[in-house]
């Protein structure tokens, strides 16, 4: 990669005798959307805090916009927008006060922040779940926009969990960052709010903002990431585009069959002869194949009659299972 925005080599972080991140390498190009996919405890958040130029590393090199974040913390952070896993808003201040004060920490002028807040409150309003109605009904949208006007002077501690999450993200955008770091951005959000947020992140990407995000949701990684690394126990297991990884580590389709928890193991040996690869999970059996329907037909002919069956396309979940022998969300 020529001139990567972020360059990480041999990055290691040790806490006492626990190695959270174990010698990882990756680059992120300008305008790219890059993901760190892995289960809880994989080392994703630790990596993110180091990229955010706050946490120090044990060894390895990190360059962000050509600078070492440990040496040039404030200068590097001036380019970053950070959305931590846990919302860290000032509950005693209002929505707009939170945005305002954060903007001041970048040395931004009062006038600039004021205008930016107007814009962000608008985005924030869209985060309230308004976007579909926005298109369908102009009047409805205006009414709900007014509702947002009410929220601006509401103390943050009175907001719902989802609202706080959206405000934290809006806050990360106050300084119009070049790189936006998002640690588990949609964990805890309802499906509708997640889709609105994804839409918003797409727009940022279109504007040339580089995104780096962690997630343990495979659908999120597939939706948002141009490229990602799969992490487990502090190490990178694989790297590539979502489609590329699926192609490399899994088959085209997956047949999920359930025989009831006792019988799954019983029939497993017989099933394994029918497909390229198989995973027996406690509740179901995953059979990897190029043609799921045909395989199901074959099972039926063998009189194995599963209680339920599902044919689906392979996902990053299957890649992770293949690489680690474990599921992403345990």
């Amino acid at each position: 990669m020529s001139n990567p925005l972020i360059s990480v080599r041999g990055l290691t972080k040790v806490f006492g005798d626990f190695t959270a991140v174990n010698g990882i390498d990756f680059d992120v190009a300008k305008g790219e959307s890059f993901g760190l996919l892995g289960p809880n405890g994989a080392g994703k958040s630790t990596t993110m805090r180091i990229l955010a130029a706050t946490s120090t590393r044990t060894s390895g090199t990190v360059e962000i916009l050509g600078k070492d974040p440990e040496q040039f913390g404030p200068l590097v952070r001036a380019h970053l927008g950070v959305v931590p896993q846990q919302d860290n808003l000032d509950g005693e201040l209002t929505v707009s006060e939170n945005l305002y004060i954060y903007g001041r920490y970048f040395g931004l002028s009062k006038k600039f922040i004021k205008n930016k807040i107007e814009e962000l409150l608008y985005i924030y309003g869209r985060y309230f779940g308004l976007s579909k109605k926005f298109i369908k009904n102009k009047i409805e949208e205006l009414l709900e926009f007014a509702q947002l006007e009410e929220k601006r002077d509401v103390k943050v501690e009175a907001l719902s969990g989802g609202m706080k999450r959206r405000l934290t993200i809006a806050r990360g955008l106050v300084s119009e960052p070049d790189i936006l770091l998002l640690d588990e951005p949609t964990t805890g959000l309802d499906p509708q709010a997640r889709h609105i947020l994804w839409d918003r992140l797409f727009r940022l990407k279109e504007q040339g903002v580089t995104l780096v995000l962690t997630t343990h949701f495979m659908d999120e990684a597939e939706q948002l990431c141009d490229r990602l690394v799969v992490m487990d126990n502090g190490s990178i297991m694989a790297e590539g585009s979502p489609a590329g990884l699926i192609k490399q580590y899994s088959s085209k389709e997956v047949l999920e069959v359930r025989f009831g928890s006792d019988r799954n193991k019983e029939v497993a040996p017989q099933l394994s002869t029918m497909c390229e690869r198989m995973e027996t999970l406690p509740d179901r059996v995953l059979m990897y194949t190029e043609d799921g329907e045909a395989l199901l037909e074959q099972i039926m002919q063998a009189k194995l009659h599963p209680t339920t069956s599902l044919v689906r396309r392979s996902s990053l979940e299957d890649v992770f299972l293949r690489l680690t022998g474990r599921t992403l969300i345990e």
Binding site: T54, S55, V82, P84, D90, E92, Y102, G107, S175
Partner: protein, 270 residues
Amino acid sequence: MNQGIDVPQIQRFGALYIASARLKSMSKWRTIIAAVDIGNPLFYLIAVGIGIGVLVEQGSGTSGTNGIKYIAFIAPALLANTAITGIMDETVFPTIEGFKWRKLFFAQNSTPITGRQIAIGVYLAALVRALFAVTVYYLLLLAFDVVNFGISFLLMPIAVLGGGAFGALMLFAAAKIEKEDQFFNILGRLVIMPMFLFSGTFFPLSSMPIYLQPIGWISPLWHATELGREAAFDYGISTTMVVVHLTFLITLLVVGLTLATRQFERRLAK
């Protein structure tokens, strides 16, 4: 990068931005703060001035207090103690909140603001709070005719210095501790209470047995109280002792702040 971002500005004045954010948070509690900072001295002045003070003076006159009215004798100590508790409230709680409860410091540190600036900003805002409390107290002392207007205004900076010395240590301690429950128990019962009772607050330190006097010697309250008495009433402390008191408080302040800023940086970089 956004053209409006001004890193040199933040490198110079970052701590002031943090302090102003802290003052903004405090202002949300202004009614309670005002009630505490006015009510507390009022209760003491009434209880001690009218109650205990009369009793003491009936017993031994003013012979035990270098000829000073009892209420006037303890006023500098109460003033310094007000600064100490004010600064403690505004360093301990925001620091634990910043690192643990709401993790605000981590948000602040994800901007060009540094850990050192966060520590100093919190500390400066605490000094402002103490200055407010002490000013209110001083005005009440004037109103109750406990001190005369004039050189006694030095009581205010002296009290804030005493509070600042103790507060710098508290800033460090609050950034250091992981389990705040135990910390609050120990702080309240084994630090604040004995310091308040044994720092020459209600009687001269020298009237205590020698083996108890070291509590006073290491107590910022005692040093600030002695300085305050000298400023307000010409209490008769030697110049050497004035220098000793000042040196002790300033040293404590510098050491405390150095430890605190380092601990803030360390904990944020974990």
